[in-house]
Amino acid sequence: MGKIYLDNGASTKTDNKVVQAMIPYFKEMYGNASSIHKLGKDAKLAIEKSRKTIAKSLNVIPEEIVFTSGGTESNNLALKGTAFAAASMNKEKNHIITTKIEHDCVLESAKWLETQGFKVTYLDVDKEGFVLLEKLKSAITPKTLLVSIIHGNNEIGTIQDLESIGKACKKNNVLFHTDACQSFTKANLDVKKFNLDLVTLNAHKIHGPKGVGALYVKKGTIIMPWQHGGGHEFGLRSGTENVPGIVGFAKAVKIVDSNNIKEMERLRDKLIEGVLKIPESRLNGPIGKKRLCNNANFSFKKIEGESITGYLDIMGIASSTASACSSMSLEPSHVLMAIGLSREEAHGSLRITLSRYTKEEDIDKLIKKLSKVVNKLRRISPLGG
């Protein structure tokens, strides 16, 4: 049975070219980048070359790229590092603004900061997941130190208008951070135009290795390290660098072809059209250009998401759901609740996320099999089929 992978929002297949680029840094150039011998210098060189590649892709300077262990760490550093740095300089600065649809690593960092005396505003979003600019503007006070808003949402694909948000932040002299793990290389991310001070990236959503990411930190940003030690990464992130990971990350960025976006959009829209023919189904999140090119998210009435993804998995198709039963917490997705779905709709959710490897026949197969699965599960549902 052929396997069809449609859970690229969770992670992607590491590109073979990426693996090939990494191997020498396991086998031959395995030195510590802080060592002063040849192997150490080779490692250091590889890191700096990679830093240039990532910087170039964001149109920023290499000194503004801090390598980390991934999206989670970058978001933790962005929130906690700026919060404590700002508060240590000016006790008045104790307020952070974020949204109700952030990734858990932002939300949990924010919640933890609340236990440390910081105040956090969690902005509502509209039915499609967009932040309301006016609400944001009125939430900013003289005490606000940071606005952190996800660029492309990992569940429902909403791409925020960071340009307008960035203008408001700049006008009020507030730091602006975005989590761009899902949108990086898949949507326009103009660091300068959007007035971004901090940007979270990771490698494993773009066919790079897991466990490596970066935080863009604009020169002059007031931030302190969160992890202390030997002073690596401009003193912002101590710890021996993950050289193969960093090299793989840069390779993944280098081989991105922006032409793939159009094809993913085409397949995404074909998928959405096909799936919405299933009765009592709905699309969660926006349509068109304001949606991530590789994301679709549906809800089906009368059936539960984990049984849908479970059935698809048995049929050889990997997908994901945000139903309560699929999560450790047994709570339905905070993102789906934030856009106003009922609990039943949130329970019956299905996320399909494509990649540049997704083929048209994968989508055709999914549509066919999904409609069978939905019918079958509805027949045994007490909510009526």
Partner: protein
Amino acid sequence: MYSKKIIDMFKNPKFAGEIKNPDAIGEVGNVKCGDIMKIYLKIDSGIIKDIKFKTYGCMAAIAASEAMCKLVKEKTLEEASKITSKDIVKELGGEMPLVKVHCSVLGMEALQKAIENYNKK
């Protein structure tokens, strides 16, 4: 995550469906998980002659419904009401992911309710 036995029972539930003119019905909802289950019974001389279920829920909940039906068919009401979640997990092949145990008790609760309703008649 799930054993082959659970997958088989989930995929091909023989007891899924309804009974026309049932002698008793039991329905429970587990708000925590979002699961809902309905049990239909045909009872003759205190013996469960036929049983069907309808379940809204995850794979574990559906497979556990099937296992429970299989266990109690042809049993007396007294025997049936003594079924425990251990018995159901055993019928499912002995393994159930820990986070899913709460989904598998649903079937029993629905059965208890059906028996209660029957006894009240």
